[in-house]
Symmetry: C2
């Protein structure tokens, strides 16, 4: 597999007119932009907040087609959060803090959407993204890694623009330091996940399973600026692994040590 | 303050007709049940999925009234998740796993709603609830602790009903054990949080700030069956603290050790 196969040119040609998710999952063309989208909009079918290139129903419509509440899918899961946020949140002005969260969430979403992922969950200073569902990606591990690199680049520039001095408290005292600095940590793992709705009382479209939990655990171990990719996922995108080293991690709830490749974006 | 003050009788008298959140925050009576609710429903104003006793717009309508994107509010934050889930998700059948998640989310929501909280975020085997917003609680720390006790009771019965044997792997081998057993861990902290929408691209109504992060960290330290209440929060509900002991915790991102009261529900 060459790096060229990670390019997403074919998908983009149809972008802007139909929902890519409905097309990839069911081969149904649902207009999401332009005049043809208007009658659909009248029935509440609009562009998804998880990714503007898919529609609000395609996320779960496939379930009705398949007559089941959830399906098993091969997908790549990406978790990202702001390192040092707990420390910052103890001492930083809330307006600045919420600016930081908005900036982080916005920059991450742009990176994820650019590589055909969906922003599935946002939890304060963290998020979870899914690649290869509902938009099919040729190499979804590579797509997630490229998105993670964009996240690191976009966020480090954005966080710098906020002029947050990791060495200063909001009241100006200089004796407060943020452990390990401010930055973003990312964890990536890939494999079979269960996708669907797992709540009886609300639309909780998400992915669950061991793969999701391992991705979350990897993210929790990533230092500011680091992308931790499970060895299993990394094997599917070796071309992107140049310059990485391997770290052996003992993760909560997982019996065997997990091998992860450490990618640092400059 | 007596235990009696934790009862929620006054609120319940008006339940079933108007949105309690709109009433508490803005003194606007929005019908959510009965014939009067029908015209509102036509405009998309229905019962919230976060709590069926509030409406879909009251969660954020106050912001437009106050002409700001977010507000500071005194609230209690509760985090809960299934202990041993990562371990289980590595070896359990996905259908059983999703049953377990649905059951957990359902039982937790019932407990939270019964004490006037809202289920703000659901993240796989975990959730975050807010007390005192938008429904005002006389003692929101007590409300959250009572909800946590209901969560522990409801969930331990429900998890038992699933017949999950912590000592068995799904293929019947008996050599696989779940560290610390299956159960629910809960963390509670209280104080000023920033409530609003912190995402530029989707409706991400939530609470952020140091109080939220500390509650999450407490939950991550709670063993199966435990409710960890920060000492600061516990001081506001001493009547409910009988039989607890204090644990000193060193938490990631927080410089000083945190004192927590440990509540175990039998």
């Amino acid at each position: 597999m060459t790096t060229a196969s990670y390019e997403k040119a074919p998908l983009h040609s149809s972008r802007g007119t139909i929902c890519q998710g409905c097309w990839d999952q069911m081969h149904v063309p649902i207009p999401i932009r332009g005049a043809l989208a208007l009658p659909f909009r009248a029935f509440g079918i609009t562009r998804s907040k998880m990714n503007p290139n898919i529609c609000t129903i395609c996320e779960r419509a496939f379930q009705y087609v398949k007559k089941q509440r959830h399906v098993t899918a091969d997908a790549t899961i990406l978790f990202a959060d702001i390192r040092g946020f707990t420390n910052l949140s103890e001492r930083m002005d809330v307006v600045k803090l919420s600016e930081m969260v908005s900036l982080f969430q916005g920059r991450c979403a742009e990176a994820i959407w650019a590589h055909d992922g969906i922003v599935n969950k946002q939890m304060g200073d963290g998020l979870m993204a899914i690649f290869n569902f509902p938009i099919v990606c040729t190499n979804h591990v590579a797509a997630a890694i490229l998105a993670a690199q964009d996240i690191q680049r976009n966020c480090s520039a954005a966080l710098r623009s906020l002029n947050i001095d990791p060495g200063a408290s909001p009241d100006g005292a200089q004796d407060v330091r943020v452990d390990g600095g401010i930055g973003v940590g990312v964890g990536i793992h890939s494999g079979d996940v269960e996708i669907g709705e797992f709540s009886s009382f609300r639309s909780d479209f998400t992915a669950i399973g061991g793969v999701v939990n391992l991705a979350a655990r990897l993210e929790s171990q990533a230092a500011a600026g680091e992308i931790l990719v499970s060895a299993a996922a990394a094997a599917q995108a070796e071309d992107l692994m140049a310059g990485t080293h391997t770290r052996s991690l003992v993760l909560k709830g997982i019996e065997q040590p997990v091998q992860a490749r450490v990618l640092v974006t400059h």
